[in-house]
């Protein structure tokens, strides 16, 4: 990858990380409500998985979706406005944090039901195959999803019909407060998926370079018509499950261990090492990120609620 591309990766990761920081600030101020799940720490998984996608590919994922939306190229202003519940949010205030969606970037939703989006991903892929298109579907879910019944149904059918899905399991070791060791009889989530007859890989999800390499192979496999592929990305969320979770179930030592493996400094170090980039270049990116986020917050603050007399809009197609 060249320097420009890597600086873009760095920018996107900083944008996602800083967006979550801003969201936390606004949430505490009461501007954002409900359940709010932050992606901080997992940025390499999203950008690594998406890096080799084409614009026409579909991305679908869980409720921890701000980063998916942003990494896919979504507008931070529309995302922030959606979190504020305003009419100029990407879903007109109807969805909120867990349900960002934008056809324009082929981000087909954040979903609150764990594993609920997995058969939907398979259905998108069924349509792709039916229409003889060359798209793939990237489906993000966590370790907890791998124990849900419909997850197994979806993986089975996607393999049976050889559908172009790349399953990306973000194994951050916890489903709210329950560790993988306490919930999955097989601690290797890739091995569980292997039973459904597809290539699987386990990767360090804190390492963008490894992540994008594994994803590139998986995406190529799915796009070639050979069927689905599975990636287990071992990663870590630095914050609690949601804004309501102080994450007391994780030791300070454990969190520090993973902090030392922060994906963003890793990318920065690689750029500095390979391209002799100066500190001021990274500071410029940081400034750009803050400016974009200032605009996003200002946009959200200036917006307004959807009038209540439009409550029944967008329920049925007339």
């Amino acid at each position: 990858m060249n320097k420009g591309e890597l600086m873009e990766v760095y920018y996107r990761m900083k944008l996602a990380r800083s967006f979550e920081t801003r969201v936390a600030e606004q949430y505490v101020k009461g501007r954002i409500a409900g359940f709010c799940h932050l992606y901080s720490g997992e940025e390499a998984v999203a950008i690594g998985a998406m890096w080799h996608l084409k614009p026409e590919d579909y991305v679908i994922g869980s409720y921890r979706d701000h980063a998916y939306y942003l990494m896919r190229g979504g507008d931070p202003r529309e995302a922030m406005a959606e979190l504020f519940g305003h009419s100029d949010g990407c879903c007109k205030g109807k969805g909120g944090s867990m349900h960002l969606f934008d056809w324009g970037i082929n981000f087909l939703g954040g979903y609150a039901i764990v594993a609920g989006m997995c058969p939907i991903a398979a259905g998108l892929a069924l349509a792709i195959k039916h229409k003889e298109e060359r798209r793939v579907v990237l489906c993000f879910f966590g370790d907890g999803a791998t124990n849900q019944g419909v997850y197994h149904e979806a993986l089975n059918m996607a393999s049976l019909y050889e559908l172009p899905v790349v399953w990306v399991c973000e194994n951050n070791y916890y489903a709210i407060g329950t560790s993988v060791g306490r919930s999955s009889a097989s601690e290797s989530l890739a091995r569980k998926a292997k039973a459904y007859r597809m290539p699987t890989s386990t990767v360090d999800g804190m390492d963008f370079f490894k992540m994008q390499s594994v994803a590139q192979r998986a995406i190529a496999h799915a796009r070639s018509g050979k069927g689905p592929a599975f990636i287990e990305a071992k990663c870590y969320r630095y914050r609690g499950h949601s804004m309501s979770d102080p994450a007391t179930y994780r030791s300070k030592e454990e969190v520090e261990y993973w902090r030392r493996r922060d994906p963003i400094p890793q990318v920065k170090a690689a750029i500095q090492h390979d391209f002799d980039a100066g500190e001021e270049e990274f500071e410029e990116v940081d400034r750009r990120v803050q400016q974009v986020l200032d605009e996003a917050v200002a946009f959200a603050e200036a917006g307004s609620e959807v009038p209540a007399d439009r409550l029944y809009e967008d329920l049925y197609v007339e």
Binding site: Y58, G89, C90, C91, K92, G93, K94, G95, H99, F101, D102, W103, L108, G109, Y111, I113, G116, C118, P119, I120, A121, A122, G123, L124, A125, L126, A127, I128, H130, K131, G149, V150, E153, A154, N156, M157, L160, Y161, E313, D314, L315, Y316, V317
Partner: protein, 325 residues
Amino acid sequence: MAQISYRDALNQALFEEMRRDETVLVFGEDVALYEGSFKVTRGLLKEFGEKRVVDTPISEAAIVGMAIGAAMAGLRPVPELMTVNFAYLALDQICNHLAVMRYMFGGQVKLPVTIRMPGGGGHQLASQHSHSLEVLFVHTPGLKVVYPSTPASAKALLKASIRDDNPVIFLEHEGLYNTVGEVPDSLEPGVIGQAEVARPGRDVSLVTYGAMRYVCLQAADRLAAEGVEAEVVDLLTLRPWDKECVTDSVAKTHRAVVVAESPPVCGIGAEVAANIYEIVFDELDAPVARVSGADVPMPYARNLEQACIPHAEDVVRAVRQVLPP
């Protein structure tokens, strides 16, 4: 005009819609090779091939989930759940996804999914195979619910449901598959949301749907022999149901009995009765009576099962309750 069975009418609707629109797909358990457990999908695989008529594993939740994804990406899926009882396995996908996604995403998705589900009791299939679950779906904003009772309404409404860009729960009654009725040769799609007066009358309105249409017609014949002319209103669509047709009927007859096969608590009877009271209270000469299935899981033994399902004499008894003494 021809005399066609309810089953064949549904089959014809599928053929016609699949010929008309190549984005229509049928999938479900045993729908292709086996031609459907109730043979509604007979012949489809042979004409349309494996890409459009797809056998699935036993995975109701994923069957519905895949229909949702396929619909988002531009297809028009018509999944089959082998019986309505198995819909429980797909309730999350139906009520937490299919029903809400258009609204939740601010109108960005269109989900033209028609889920066919045969249901109803009467064949001694016991409590896990005999449900009438329509009310669960009727209660859910974002869905439409259709329940035809005649071959003509089955064909017309299945065509309409498939063409509708909204999610439709399409219920069929297992006991009606062999019933035969007149179906016009070239049939326009029906109107979802329009009820049908199956029998006009002036003394009492019998509001009903599904297999109970026939029970009400039988009751109406018996009542006619006593000089009581019952009007039978067949809802055909349960969500949105035709309030105007029902309240016009009650405004004429001043008495109403709602007849449904499913158990009474929070059933269609409760919904229709509440609306009759709200909209045409001044027209009523008696409280609205409800005839429903027994409030128990469906038992296996023949005599017990028959005691659970409304019969003509139950309807006649209810009518006598609302008539002047």
